[in-house]
């Protein structure tokens, strides 16, 4: 299976439109390009711009064409495009290996490839083929994927407000009026569940993936507890952003999977889910363990576990077994309204 692309970064001159904005009297959208952009958007693939142009002129032109809303964090400047690629990946908080870059100039594509060989570069000549490419065809399109761009847009507003907020990060979180709902996974959630297991790398304790049938099996399994978390705040919905798979064995409860979308990083969702899991283990009188598979990306999850009272119990290469050993009473963060559903 080829790696799925999460964000397409477009050049403008002679890529999205025909002509060079700063030189030609008139530029025109390439025929059919609007459809390509809209189709990707509906698939939940994010889009941005990396163009060497005057910022205001280029944005005005995109607005005139009625397509500016589709692009998150557009990078329009005279900086090298590799820098723009890096800025976009950081702003959206995704790995550069999930980016595609479309440009008509081979020198630009090579400059990006030189710094980020993992970026999929596409010659602008092939723009009509983009929607047929396997890397740009998600296995499923879920409710969450259709809303993805809007969710990122509200995140831009949120971040902006946070950067202007004077106070501690918890005080800011308290102003968000966050509502977290944790419920059992239902059959209608399964596509999103699979999407989360495939897309999530940073905030993922093991990175285990399961077939659709296996996931379906966990719902009815007596041995498993399978939970999904949904978050919203006053800026809007984050959608279904968290997943937990617990396995019961004798008097033990093991966390096989704990993951969250990177959009909720630094919101304390991981700790909140762990509080809930700790409570379950306590109520069932089971010892609590967590499997952890170290990658170069998921250290944040490791630190979260360690500061929630988990400690190394067994180590085998990159695979750790952590055990919860703490008598401290853990509570949900005060800034978070938590609702537990059946």
């Amino acid at each position: 299976m080829s790696k799925k692309i999460k964000c397409v970064v477009w050049d403008l001159d002679n890529t999205i439109w025909e002509g060079i904005l700063s030189e030609d009297k008139e530029v025109r959208l390439k025929p059919g390009i609007e459809n390509v952009i809209k189709t990707l958007d509906e698939r939940g693939i994010l889009q941005s711009v990396a163009s060497k142009n005057d910022y205001n002129n280029a944005i005005n032109k995109l607005e005139e064409f009625g397509i500016s809303e589709y692009f998150l964090y557009p990078q329009i400047s005279w900086n090298p495009k590799a820098d723009s690629i890096k800025s976009i990946a950081e702003a959206i908080n995704i790995g550069t290996d999930t980016l595609a870059f479309v440009d008509d100039q081979i020198t630009e594509r090579e400059e990006v490839s030189f710094s980020y060989p993992e970026v999929l570069t596409i010659d602008a000549l092939r723009y009509m083929e983009i929607c047929d490419m396997d890397e740009l065809t998600p296995n499923y399109i879920t409710e969450d994927s259709k809303k993805r761009r809007l969710m990122y847009k509200s995140d831009m507003v949120r971040k902006n407000e946070e950067s202007e907020f004077r106070g501690s990060s918890e005080e800011f979180l308290a102003t968000l009026d966050m509502h977290l709902t944790i419920s059992n996974v239902k059959p209608e959630d399964l596509k999103r569940v699979e999407e989360l297991t495939i897309r999530t790398h940073q905030l993922n304790s093991t990175g285990y993936t399961y077939s659709f049938e296996e996931l379906e099996g966990f719902i009815s399994s007596e041995k498993h507890i399978f939970l999904i978390a949904e978050l919203k705040d006053r800026f809007g919905e984050y959608g279904k952003i968290g997943l937990v798979l617990l396995e019961k064995e004798d008097d033990k409860l093991s966390i096989k999977l704990l993951l969250m979308s990177c959009r909720v990083m630094t919101k304390g969702i991981g700790s909140a889910m762990l509080v809930h899991i700790i409570n379950i283990a306590k109520a069932q009188n089971r010892g609590l363990f967590a499997e952890f598979l170290q990658t170069d990306r998921n250290r944040v999850m490791y630190i979260t576990y360690k500061f929630m009272g988990f400690d190394e119990f067994h180590e085998e290469g990159d695979k750790l077994l952590l055990k919860y050993e703490s008598e401290i009473k853990r509570e949900f963060p005060t800034y978070l309204n938590v609702k537990l559903d059946d």
């Binding site: 501690s168 304390g268 979260t304 500061f307 929630m308």
Partner: protein, 79 residues
């Protein structure tokens, strides 16, 4: 060593509004610190002092006070 402590205190003050703090005060017991803050703190320390904590050293007890944090930094630097 004193400059490390100063940087840590500055960070605590800026992010937690903890003003009066003894170097041995327990940050966790006083409810100043939770796991979000632990992440921010570790991120800050690793960037500021250009270190990377060992997995084994990432435990609450190593970050429990300004003094403890300073010890952990020095220990990591000397490795």
């Amino acid at each position: 060593m004193e400059e490390y402590k100063e940087k840590i205190r500055e960070f605590l003050k800026k992010n937690k509004k903890i003003d009066i703090l003894e170097d041995d005060d327990n940050l966790f017991a006083k409810g100043y610190v939770n796991s979000i803050f632990a992440l921010q703190l570790i991120n800050f320390l690793e960037k500021t002092f250009k270190i990377k904590f060992n997995n084994k050293d990432i435990v609450e007890s190593n970050f429990v006070s300004v003094n403890k944090i300073t010890e952990t930094i020095i220990k990591t630097m000397n490795k």
